[in-house]
């Protein structure tokens, strides 16, 4: 048990917080800002999934469905109510309400008999909803998704002022126009931070402790007098609502929703990887996992891209399978291996390692 671990963990988390808080100033270009916003959303999404997986010990495959409900709520409200802040609020509220009701129904149905039904039934329901969304194209835009307009105050068209260029010694700053896009980023960042703090608070509450007790030993929790079913359904609903909020933020940022960015099974797998590799049952694990995955997805290809394959010695490059294994398109293979190893050897993931505890 090294003492450096926990300090390092705190430093990493602090660095992530600072980087996200000052992203518009620190990084240039809209791609970087896009990545930062996506990261904020993914952190909330992964952390809300960790409430279920890590704290309550429930596996759900419908988390992206709830995410999508928030996103489509905002999209539909913006399309039908016009371009205003009340559309964003109404859409978020409607998405959250729908997510809560559906989570309640699924929970009542599948957790009642056997907790393992839950994983299978959420998978089935999420697939059915994804199929419906892509087929009811008059309502949802189908596979193409929906694009819509958000309040001008949140778009690049609006200017709030500028930060002039300056140079202090070796540090040079090019100057920055404070656009509505940046305001939008801070809306996403602020809401994400608030949601994350709410979740931290939730797991430290007696309610959160009961969830952990149920995860550890549901029979004893029941014998002590906690109604296991009610707590499990409760956390299912809470985590679904938070996921829908994350979806709403993402929709506000992207000004586009479609099945591939909100509902896809690939996204579900990404969240699972984030939480497990980062560390289940810690919430901070979701932060680390989200940072790792989002950065890798955005920048890995250009980092190792074709260079790596070209730099292979010909003896290896001519082998039948090996070059294909190292292809950056196949990185999910290695993530999968890492995932399985994490479950077996580091159930508390990166965070657990850094804290120097196995559990």
């Amino acid at each position: 048990m090294t003492r450096a671990g926990p300090v390092l963990l705190r430093l990493i988390l602090l660095a992530v917080l600072v980087a996200l808080a000052f992203a518009p100033v620190l990084f240039e270009g809209s791609r970087a800002l896009d990545t930062a916003a996506r990261l904020c959303v993914m952190i909330v999404l992964a952390a809300s999934f960790d409430l279920l997986l890590g704290y309550a010990g429930i596996v759900s495959f419908a988390h992206t469905m709830f995410f999508g409900m928030g996103a489509y709520g905002v999209a539909l409200a913006s399309l039908h109510m016009g371009r205003g802040p009340e559309a964003l609020l109404a859409g978020t509220a409607a998405g959250a309400a729908a997510a809560a009701v559906l989570a309640l129904v699924i929970g009542l149905f599948s957790l009642r008999v056997r907790a393992i039904f839950f994983a299978m039934i959420t998978l089935a329901v999420a697939s059915a909803v994804a199929v419906l969304v892509s087929q009811l194209s008059t309502l949802t835009g189908g596979e193409d998704g929906l694009t819509y307009r958000i309040p001008r105050a949140l778009t690049a068209a609006e200017t709030y002022g500028t930060i002039p260029a300056f140079a202090v010694g070796p540090i040079a700053f090019d100057g920055l126009r404070i656009s509505g896009k940046i305001a939008n980023y801070y809306l996403v960042f602020g809401c994400a931070l608030a949601l994350f703090l709410v979740m931290l608070r939730l797991v430290a509450s007696p309610f959160g402790r009961v969830l952990q007790a149920i995860r550890e030993n549901d029979h004893r929790a029941e014998a002590v007098g906690y109604s296991v079913l009610r707590y499990r359904i409760g956390i299912t609903v809470i985590s679904a609502v938070i996921a829908s909020f994350a979806g709403a933020l993402y929709a506000i940022w992207l000004r586009y929703v479609g099945p591939d960015v909100t509902l896809s099974f690939d996204l579900m797998i990404d969240i699972l990887l984030m939480v497990v590799i980062g560390g289940m049952g810690t919430l901070y694990g979701a932060v680390i996992g989200a940072v790792l995955l989002v950065l890798a997805q955005t920048y890995l290809r250009e980092l190792m891209g074709p260079n790596l394959l070209e730099s292979l010695p010909p003896a290896i490059a001519d082998l039948p399978v090996l070059p294909e294994l190292l292809n950056p398109d196949r990185w999910l293979l290695w993530l999968g291996v890492l995932f399985v190893l994490s479950v077996y050897f580091f159930p508390a993931g990166v965070v657990g390692r850094l804290r120097g505890r196995r559990a």
């Binding site: 007696p206 309610f207 952990q212 550890e216 030993n217 002590v224 109604s227």
Partner: protein, 250 residues
């Protein structure tokens, strides 16, 4: 206080508990004895609700609880310790006990406060830990405790619930000779509280003589004797059913 009426359960064709009618009174310590497989643990499972009865009734203070869930019975005052230790392994010792205190004191509004900030709950947890002499280990994980200390923690969780009915399933099994008396003292202490009743599965005759006000003998799921320790231990049925077995148990 607690009454069973023709209580029975079948597993496949096997009648593990077969028509047990008993009345457990307030302020009384009842020892339940019988050879292995007699149905003692199953009787506990029926009373606390882990196993549903095939037939018969269970009443607590006159209320029929036969169809209630495990949690609902616990909230009404049925407290259950486990023969196979049953804890929250990756939580700390103190957290294990705190959860039990919290379950008893539960009020809706409290559930969203900070868990570590509720001093009353923590104080109650600490006092129970002191009673079972686990205070020094309170910050370790339950899974890291020795077997004997895990048994004590199991009992501490039960004590922290402050139930009306205490059920101890072989509490001192696997404990060393110098640990067991402390636990038995705790059980003895419960007798002073006239509002409670204690059910105790125990094999050792000296313990039964010292603690029990009453002895119920189970064999093959039936109640074959019921009376004061002195009376029961002399009866022929017990000699036949139980004494030989106890020798075999060592």
């Amino acid at each position: 206080m607690l009454r069973t009426l023709d209580l029975a359960v079948r597993f496949g064709g096997h009648r593990a508990v077969d028509g047990v009618s008993c009345h457990f009174r307030q302020g009384e310590v009842t020892a339940i004895v019988g050879p292995n497989g007699a149905g003692k643990t199953t009787l506990f499972n029926l009373i606390s609700g882990q196993v549903r009865a095939s037939a018969g009734r269970i009443e607590l203070l006159g209320e029929d609880i036969t169809r209630l869930s495990v949690a609902a019975r616990a909230r009404r005052g049925i407290g259950r310790g486990f023969q196979q230790t049953s804890l929250f392994p990756n939580l700390t010792v103190r957290e294990n006990v705190r959860l039990a205190v919290q379950a008893r004191q539960r009020k809706g509004g409290r559930m969203l406060r900070r868990a570590d900030a509720d001093r009353k709950v923590l104080a109650a947890a600490d006092s129970v830990l002191g009673q079972v002499r686990l205070a020094p280990q309170q910050h370790r994980l339950a899974s890291e405790l020795s077997h004997c200390n895990q048994r004590k923690l199991d009992i501490a969780v039960l004590m922290a619930l402050e139930p009306r009915v205490f059920m101890f399933d072989e509490p001192t099994a696997g404990m060393s000779a110098d640990e067991a008396p402390g636990v038995l003292d705790l059980i003895d202490g419960l007798r002073r509280d006239r509002n409670r009743c204690v059910l105790l599965v125990e094999h050792k005759l000296d313990v039964i003589r010292a603690l029990a006000d009453r002895v119920v003998v189970l064999q093959d799921g039936r109640c074959v004797a019921d009376g004061t320790p002195a009376m029961v231990m002399e009866s022929a049925a017990v000699q036949a059913a139980y004494m030989g077995q106890e020798l075999a148990d060592g």
